[in-house]
Symmetry: C2
Subunit: 322 residues, 2 copies
Amino acid sequence: MSVPLPNSVKLIEVGPREGFQFEGIGAPDKILLSDKIALIDALAGTGLKTIQIVSFVHPRIMPQMADAAEICAGIQPREDVAFTGIYLNDVGLNRALATPALTFIPEIVLAASETFAMRNQKRNFAEDDAMQVKMAGLCAEAGRPVTAGNIMAAFGCNYEGVVPRDRVLRMIGRLCEIAESTGGKLASINLADTMGWADPGQITAMVEAVGQDFPQLEIGLHLHDTRGMAIANVYAALQAGVRRFDTGIGGLGGCPFAGHAGAAGNVATEEVVFLCHKLGIPTGVDLPALMDCARLAQRMVGHALPSRLLTSGISPAGVPAS
Amino acid sequence: MSVPLPNSVKLIEVGPREGFQFEGIGAPDKILLSDKIALIDALAGTGLKTIQIVSFVHPRIMPQMADAAEICAGIQPREDVAFTGIYLNDVGLNRALATPALTFIPEIVLAASETFAMRNQKRNFAEDDAMQVKMAGLCAEAGRPVTAGNIMAAFGCNYEGVVPRDRVLRMIGRLCEIAESTGGKLASINLADTMGWADPGQITAMVEAVGQDFPQLEIGLHLHDTRGMAIANVYAALQAGVRRFDTGIGGLGGCPFAGHAGAAGNVATEEVVFLCHKLGIPTGVDLPALMDCARLAQRMVGHALPSRLLTSGISPAGVPAS
């Protein structure tokens, strides 16, 4: 009855970008620039290979990201770590391209809920599609044709409820089309449970359906723990062969436009690492060093973060740390 | 790759007993007797069929359970709900037998970590074994020979670290022996991850090993979310065919003698119900009514409970509640 698991996983740390956004709602100066930089530098020393550190959004819409350029300029460059940023329109994309400290990811993104798209991207489905075509063109012009796709709200929506799987599959197909029409080719698709509605059965079914329709795509998952299901969803995804996860240190994160009632963070990086190591799956990450980062993040935001492991610790007795 | 899941599960609500114990550490009067009774009565109206409400421990050791008799006398009796209590020695057992409001469970219990046994049961392995023989005899004398077994700290220990699976299997065998030597017969075994060390791989392996060595036993799991793995462990257990879980409303709970650094509660009842319903597994429990109970429990203890679902809610939009 045991199901084979992947022999390694790749974690994309998104806690800085999401955490700085979410924690800064209504309080853009809550986290000091120097603290932001210190957290990113500390995370870069844990073995994590990709760290998403900023989003390029207009400071009127998201004042807590007004210091994106200073963050990128302040961090310690490292050969072994890719620092990345996200963007949701052509202006943001051009800012990302013009930021030498970042590894540019030529990515296009659709949201599977139109209500969510209207709130987060400020565009309806048609406008959002047109923007992806425009952004894909810009990527091609910059000599970096699109290779990555992303579907937000892929498993359910706080505004619309159920999100049909067929719509998600159609949108993945559309992202493939847009990439190819601009000289690119999708190699990966990230599926985001932006509002924390997925259950492990849904994860299994979605991963199987995407794998069947798009066998050429590497699947990544971006899971929020809004309803307590995230770690079970990671486990189900591992069983389905998924090898790439977005995670947030300490459980930081949450989308400011997702209509969350409260809990909202990403699945905690240290809990995913703990799970993987206990299952015998290497992550390349130093768990005790990661726990130090989680404690740092918690001190910086000034309140308890959602991670249970952060509170309980990894090795009060002889239980191996990793 | 999909694994078949059980067609129903049975949940044992342990939040009152564990929560009243854990929340009352150092503050035995923190939760009003009337509140305790109100919570139990509310839980009894949700469709839960078994609710563990008290432990019979000497009030010197656990002053927060000094009102056990009053709780039992105060609750509304119901034909459709079994209220139960636990005991760890002959004196407690006799108190449980003498409490007509309770459904008596003729159960014997060993701990798989001797250090934990010394702290929780105040007995070493040999003394603890002898006590189980004595208690099994008392059950037989009362005309209720032993049918239930329980292993505490079955998946790891905050004091000792790793708990070998072979030891757990030997102890289950020993519980079977004790039951049979006193005219009983074990029908079920509860495996407790008292200190929250289990991962889904361990759960799968343990359930398979117990099922192989003791096919006659129904397996129940008692899972703490100390390190954030509990809901993934429930999912792994469902995949392995487990149909019985102890859960705590709101994530209440924690063993006062387990050396927890912080987080300690049981897997939250409402999150297990949410998971099961999303997976299409009936629980017989009314999720919105259960959410009301979780809110009541949270008001009563006066601080945020660990349940994520309690914070985020089940249906901000059109997503079905169950």
